[in-house]
Amino acid sequence: MRYGETGFNLEVDLSQGKSEKVETDPGLTELHLGGQGTADKILWDRVPGEVEAFSPDNLLIFSTGLLDGTPVPGANRTIVNTFSPMTNLHAHSVMGGFFGPELKYAGYDKIVIRGKAPDLVYLWIDNDKVEIRDAGHLRGKGCHETAEFVRKELKQDKVQVAAIGVAGENRVYMASIDSSCGSAARGPGPVMGDKRLKAIAVRGTKDINIARPAELFDVCMRLNKELAENPKVGDWMATDEDDSFHHDNFAWGNARTRRRGFWSKELQDRWTNLKYQHMDRQRGCYNCPKACHNVISWPGRKRFSYKCYGKDTYHMAAFQELDFSYDILGVAQEYGVDSYSTPQVIAFALELLEAGILTEKDFPGMPADIRGRFLYILERIVRREGIGDILANGVYHAARQIGKGAEAYDHNTVKKFEQLPIKLKKLNPPYFLMIATGEKMSITQIEGSFPQDPLPTREQREEFVRNWIACPDDKFKKWFLEWEKREVLPMEASCAITDWNEAMHYIDDSIGLCGFVSAFRGQFGGRTAYHVWNIPQLITLATGLDFDKDKLWKAFQRNRNLVRALNVRRGMRRKDETPPADHWAVRDHEYEQKLLDAYYRFKGWNKDGIPTKETLDALGMDYIRKEFEQRGILTS
C-alpha cells in the first residue's frame, strides 16, 4: 500500500481516445518526491529534446503534490508541466484551489496527457471511470463559465474543473489554465489548447492513506493554528491596504516608468473603499486557513478573484487606477490569460504604435481612450485576430515578427519570457543570479527565503535572526547580520542564498505546498511556517518514507538538475542566462560574469551552465550524463 500518494497515474492518449491507469514506481518518490519532481522525470524519459511544444508527442502533465489531500494545511497545489511554445523550454506552472486534492481522491497522482484530439474535447474523470467527451458546445466559453457548464452537464456540484478559455483554444502563448481561484500560467495553456483539450473535470471519493496517522494529525493541527495566527504567511496584501511597495517601486507601462511617490494616503483610502464596496468575500484554497483571494463583483463583468500583485498589473501597464484592473480582470480571467505577461504585451503594442513601428492601420476600429485600447487589444490577442495573431506570441516573438526596430522594445524578457516590471538602480547579487539562472521564468517562483534587502541597524538584524527557525544553516545568519548595503554581499553568500531560495520552491512544487505559506514568504519577516526542518517530518509521517533535511535537500538538487538537464538538452546555455540590460542602472559586466562563474561552480555546473559528470553521477542521474555524452553535450 502507498501512503500520502496513490501510486497511480492516469495516462491519456487524446489521439487514440484512450486512457489507462498505470501504477508508478515507488522508488521515484524517494528520489524526486512527487509533483513537478516526478513529472520532470517523465518528461526526461519520454519527450526527446527535439519535440516541439505543439507536437502530439509533447506531454502535458497535471500533478498533485506529494502531500496534497493529506491533513497538511496549505498542501493543495496542482503542478502543470510541459514544454512551452513561448520559450521552447520546460514550463513550470502551479495553481492553488482544489483540483490537485480532488484528483488524488479520485485515485491518481498525475494525469499524463499525450497526442491531440481530432476536435475539442473534455476529460471526465469520475474515480476509475474516465471519459473523453465532446466539447464542441464549450468552444469559446470562459474558463469559469466552462466549469459551470460542465458541472451542470454532469449534474455534479462537487466536481473540480480545470479549463482553458478562448486564449488557450487559440494557442495564445500567454494562455493560462484556470480552476476555481487558481490559475496555471507560464506555458501550459497553449499546449492544452493545441491538444484540443478544453477542460478536465474530476470527482474523487476515495481514501488517501496516511502512514503515521495520529502523529501527522497532531502536527498538522498545530500547524493549522500557527498558520491561521501568523500574519507573516498568506497574502498580506489581502488585508494590508498599503500597496506603496509595488506602485512606487515597480515600473509602469511597458516596464518603463517608475513613479516614486505615486502612493498617498488619499489614494489608499479611496482604493480601500473601492475594494470593500465590491468585495464579496475572501476565499481560501483547499485545507488552508488563510484567505488570500479577494472575490470581486464588478458591474457588467463576471465575478472574479485575485491575489497579491495580480491586482496591479493591468492598471500599472495602462497608467490607470485600481478600478481599471477591476474592470478588465473579470474579462481577462474568463479568456484565460496570464495577468503578469499579458498587460506587458499590450503595453508593448501601444509603445510600438506611439513609436510609429505599428500604425493605426494595425488596429482598425480601436477606441481612442487607453482603457478601451487595452480591452480592444486583449480581444484581438485572445482571438488571434489581425495584429493580435502576432502579439499572441508574447513580446519576444512579436518583436521579431514585427521587425522594423521593434526588437529594441523587447527590453524586459529573459529566455523569451516577460519578467516582472522591476527597474532598479543598484544590483542585488542574489537577484542577478536568480533572474539570470532561474528556469521557472518568474522571479516570484525563485525568490523568497532570504530577505530582499538588508535591515538598517545591527539591532534590527539581530532581532531578525533570533528565532529564525526556517534558516537551514547558521552561515545565512552570519551573512544577514553583516549585510549593510544591498549590492555588497560575499560571492559565496550570493550563491548560497540563491540556492536556498530556489530550493524551497523546488520542494514546494514537488510536495504541493503553496509558496505563500512556505517558499515565498520567508523573505518578509523570516517566519514562514514550512522549512527544511519540519518538511522532512511531514513527508515521513504522511508517506512512511524516511526523510531528513539532507535527503530532502538532495531531492531538491536532483529535481533542480533535472529541469536544467531538460533545458540543456533543448539547447539552453550560458548565453541565455542574461537579465534585462536595464534591470539595474548600475552594471559591472566583469563582476556579474564572475558571479555567474561562481554560481555555476557552486551548483556543480560547467562554465556553460551544464551539470557536470560528477554532479550527475553523485545524484544518481548517470542516465542524464550518458545521454549528454552521446549527444556531445558533455565529453566522455
Binding site: G204, D207, I208, I210, M221, R281
Partner: protein, 158 residues
C-alpha cells in the same frame, strides 16, 4: 431532588464567514476514520460545504438524520437572485442522493459532534475552521434534575 442549569452547546454555522476551504471536511473525515486518522476522504465527512462558486455561496452543512423515504416537502430557496432547488441545503442522507453516505458501503453518515469523549478543544471541524464560520457555542440552557453524578458529552455544566 437537586436540579442544575445546563448549557447545551451546538455547532453554529455562519456561511458569510466561510472561505470555502473545506478544512472541516478533511478534519471530520480523518477524525472519524477507523483506525482514527488512517485515511483522509472528504466524501466520508459528516460536514460538507455546499459549493457554488458562480454565485459565491459556500455553506457548511452538517449531516443530520437518515431518512428512508425521499422527501416530499421539497422547496426552493432564492438567494442573491439565484434559485436553489430541492435538496441543496438539506442535512439528511436519503435514498435520492449520494451526500452523507460512505462512498463504498452507502452507509448513512450523521454528525455526532465528534462523539464521546468530545476532543479537547471542541469538535474537529470547529477546531480546523480558521475563518470563524464554524463555532461551538451555547444554543440553549436546560434545567436538569440530577439523580446522581453524571456528565453528558457535548453538555457543559454552568
Amino acid at each position: 431532588m437537586k436540579t442544575i442549569i445546563k448549557t447545551i452547546k451546538t455547532i453554529k454555522i455562519d456561511p458569510l464567514k466561510c472561505t470555502g476551504c473545506r478544512a472541516c471536511e478533511m478534519a471530520c473525515s480523518t477524525f472519524h476514520a477507523k483506525p482514527q486518522f488512517r485515511i483522509v476522504n472528504p466524501t466520508r465527512s459528516r460536514i460538507r460545504v455546499f459549493w457554488d462558486e458562480e454565485n459565491d455561496v459556500y455553506i457548511p452543512i452538517l449531516a443530520g438524520e437518515y431518512t428512508q423515504a425521499e422527501c416530499n416537502s421539497r422547496y426552493i430557496i432564492t438567494m442573491n437572485k439565484k434559485e436553489y432547488g430541492e435538496c441543496s441545503f438539506c442535512r439528511s442522507s436519503c435514498p435520492s442522493r449520494d451526500l452523507f453516505k460512505e462512498p463504498d458501503s452507502g452507509i448513512a453518515l450523521k454528525c455526532d459532534v465528534c462523539g464521546e469523549p468530545m476532543p479537547e478543544g471542541g469538535p474537529m471541524c470547529v477546531q480546523w475552521c480558521a475563518s470563524g464560520a464554524l463555532t461551538y457555542a451555547p444554543e440553549r440552557t436546560e434545567e436538569i434534575e440530577l439523580a446522581e453524578e453524571e456528565v453528558e458529552e457535548g453538555v457543559e455544566e454552568l
